[in-house]
């Protein structure tokens, strides 16, 4: 599979999902359980991605400069600092630690 094929297939899947909601009868999915599963899927996937992105190094787990960076990011989000600032600070914290170690 080439990178382009991955991008195109994933884009088709995402558009098909959006279109589905305009095609199927509303009664099918407005019930609480499917809506709850869809909302929690978003939470679970994002949390899983954070864990892998923070601790994963190929197929091993490592504790490195990314850990303090993500902790700093969590603290800033709790203080309601804007997204773009937090992302930049996280990058700076990790880069700074790598520079001195």
């Amino acid at each position: 599979m080439t990178l382009w094929q991955i991008l195109i297939l994933a884009s088709i899947a995402c558009f098909a999902l959006k279109l589905t909601g305009y095609v199927i009868p509303p009664a099918l999915l407005t019930r609480p359980t499917p809506a709850r599963v869809a909302n929690l899927l978003t939470v679970a996937l994002l949390a899983g991605l954070i864990a892998v992105q923070t601790l994963g190094q190929g197929q091993s787990l490592v504790l490195d400069a990314r850990v303090p960076a993500i902790l700093a990011a969590a603290g800033l989000y709790a203080l309601k600092v804007p997204f773009i600032v937090v992302v930049a600070v996280a990058a700076l914290v990790a880069a700074g630690i790598r520079l001195v170690t």
């Binding site: 990178l3 991955i6 899983g48 992105q53 197929q59």
Partner: protein, 238 residues
Amino acid sequence: MTPTPETSGAARASLAVGLATAAYGISFGALATAAGLDVWQTCFLSLVMFTGGSQFALVGVIASGGVAAGPSAIASAALLGSRNVIYALRMSPVVGSGWMKRIAAAHLTIDESVAVSTAQSTPAAQRIGFWLTGLLVFVGWNLTTLVGALIGNLIGDVSAYGLDAAAAAAFLGLLWPRLKHLQAQAVAVVAAVAAALLTPVVAPGVPVIVAATVAVVFGLTDWLGPRTTRDTEGAPLA
């Protein structure tokens, strides 16, 4: 259409949300190029996929597993895009009939357009909120994606600059507003632990997919659901 206080309010909300969201595009563009996409591929995602969470997820999986993790990357993007089905169902009566209109609406069905629309009180304001927010975010998101991709290309080596930590921080920013209830917090913790523990055991990209099953288990059983929380707090049930 004659402006009313409701429709002008919807227009103002659309503008504010459109500008705020555009900022995310810079980080997406930079992270996508850091993951190995070229500028065209990065812009293709923002133009054609156009659903931020799925775009970040796809790029995140490619960054850790490369092209070999393609199937997992596609599955992650699709699973994260599944909430758009629910959004589209909610927007269906707002958008109304007509095939071309519904296809255009499907493309613009994202967190922001739906959030602004559902916050409006009149049908006219809901329509304006949906279309205007969708269009403004589309334009802003694509412009800033290009800027981010060009910056990402310029600064080069990822880990030396901390862009991998920036990716994790970006995911955390998308997750943060969704953690208001105990159920969501529990799902996040269990999913994160599961994904980390599985990383050494299964192929790259797969841990995140398995973590998604945590949501299915909690969602189907409604374990620790908001209703239970209200009960224990003694507040009246709606």
